[in-house]
Symmetry: C2
Subunit: 220 residues, 2 copies
């Protein structure tokens, strides 16, 4: 019951501050000042600072994961249980990239928070990330169904590289912009997604079939 107003205000303020300044130098006192609530409110409503961070991260994580699985499921249903590998990879990296890149001024606080979380990775967040493996396994399964002639090893490496490119591009987007002197346009999110998916697809299909047609050809 109750208005929940304080709770909400703390969550919003914390997300904003963490997104802007990182976990390292944002204190509870900064948060409650920004939220215009009393210092003790954080411990009253959340138990501890770590639980506050965890709640923020979990909320955003399950939103992203749900989005990913929604795309994946739709693709597999349409393909009769077997989706093209590009579509699977698109479902894997699309939601994250779409959430975390794009014009900075229209990037949501939630997105900027998740970028921070991927850069700094404080203990409470690291604990949660470890539980993400089950979620990734679902994608590995879909990839195996899509490319039944590829070994598990190759599947996992492909999955790893796809996530690598997506996350690294998010983490180091500033550096890539500076390095390329603006030539790499990170605001064109769909182009970034297409590049990541394309390379990951090549990684998974090289020396086997054409990149375009995931097939069930010869075994290794």
């Amino acid at each position: 019951m109750a208005s929940d107003h304080t709770r909400t205000a703390i969550l919003a303020a914390a997300e904003r501050l963490y997104a802007d300044r990182g976990f390292g130098d944002v204190t509870l006192r900064d948060i409650v000042a920004e939220a215009n609530v009393n210092l003790a409110a954080v411990n009253y409503h959340f138990g501890s600072k770590d639980e506050l961070i965890a709640e923020l991260f979990v909320t955003r994580s399950i939103a992203t994961n749900r989005e990913r699985l929604r795309e994946l499921k739709a693709a597999e249903e349409q393909g009769g249980g077997r989706a093209p590998i590009e579509v699977i990879l698109h479902a894997l990296v699309g939601p994250t990239l779409r959430g975390c890149l794009g014009p900075e001024n229209q990037r949501s606080t939630a997105a900027r928070f998740m970028i921070r979380a991927s850069i700094e990775s404080v203990p409470p967040i690291r604990r949660i990330k470890n539980r993400e493996i089950d979620h990734l396994r679902k994608f590995a399964g879909a990839m195996r169904r899509s490319l039944p002639d590829r070994s598990d090893i190759d599947i996992y490496w492909g999955l790893n590289f796809a996530l690598a490119m997506a996350h690294h591009t998010i983490r180091e987007s500033e550096r890539l912009t500076k390095l390329s002197e603006g030539k790499c346009d990170l605001d064109d999110v769909e182009d970034v997604v297409a590049r990541v998916v394309s390379v990951a697809t090549m990684a998974l299909t090289a020396g086997r079939t054409e990149a375009k047609a995931p097939s069930r050809l010869a075994a290794r």
Copy 2:
């Protein structure tokens, strides 16, 4: 002058502790206890905690960078100013991967420290990383010479993806092992390097020439 013994002991102890437990929860008191020196010694010899961390990181960084440039230069000289793209990529990701992967028990403290630095990225380290762009530009230059028909945009994206795969694999090596149930062997460093180089090469040469022969064919 002087024996430098204290200085050295502090550096060694700090590197070991940071590598094992992360920057977050290693205090100066932990370090001086491990090094068997007085608390004030850190400030006396290094000025501040941040300067100690910075010194550790720059030492290791320039070692890695020197190694990378050595490989790159040798390759370009042998190729008469133009090295095959695979060899350039090998010089880019090889030293880091070789330093940070491999059987855990024979992984150097320096390597484990650098992994930490890439995961946690505290302020003094972040400041130094920003100066790494000049170093990367040298590789971009070599890649451009190797693939003169590719646009700068593609070069930078290829560079970005190569670093992405290498660093992410290091950062998340534990997770990949767990996810693949040990099927992906991260101790076989040369296999990992080959995989990263192979995928990055494909990314840079796809739709242009065969992956094997970096050539000077038709323009885009």
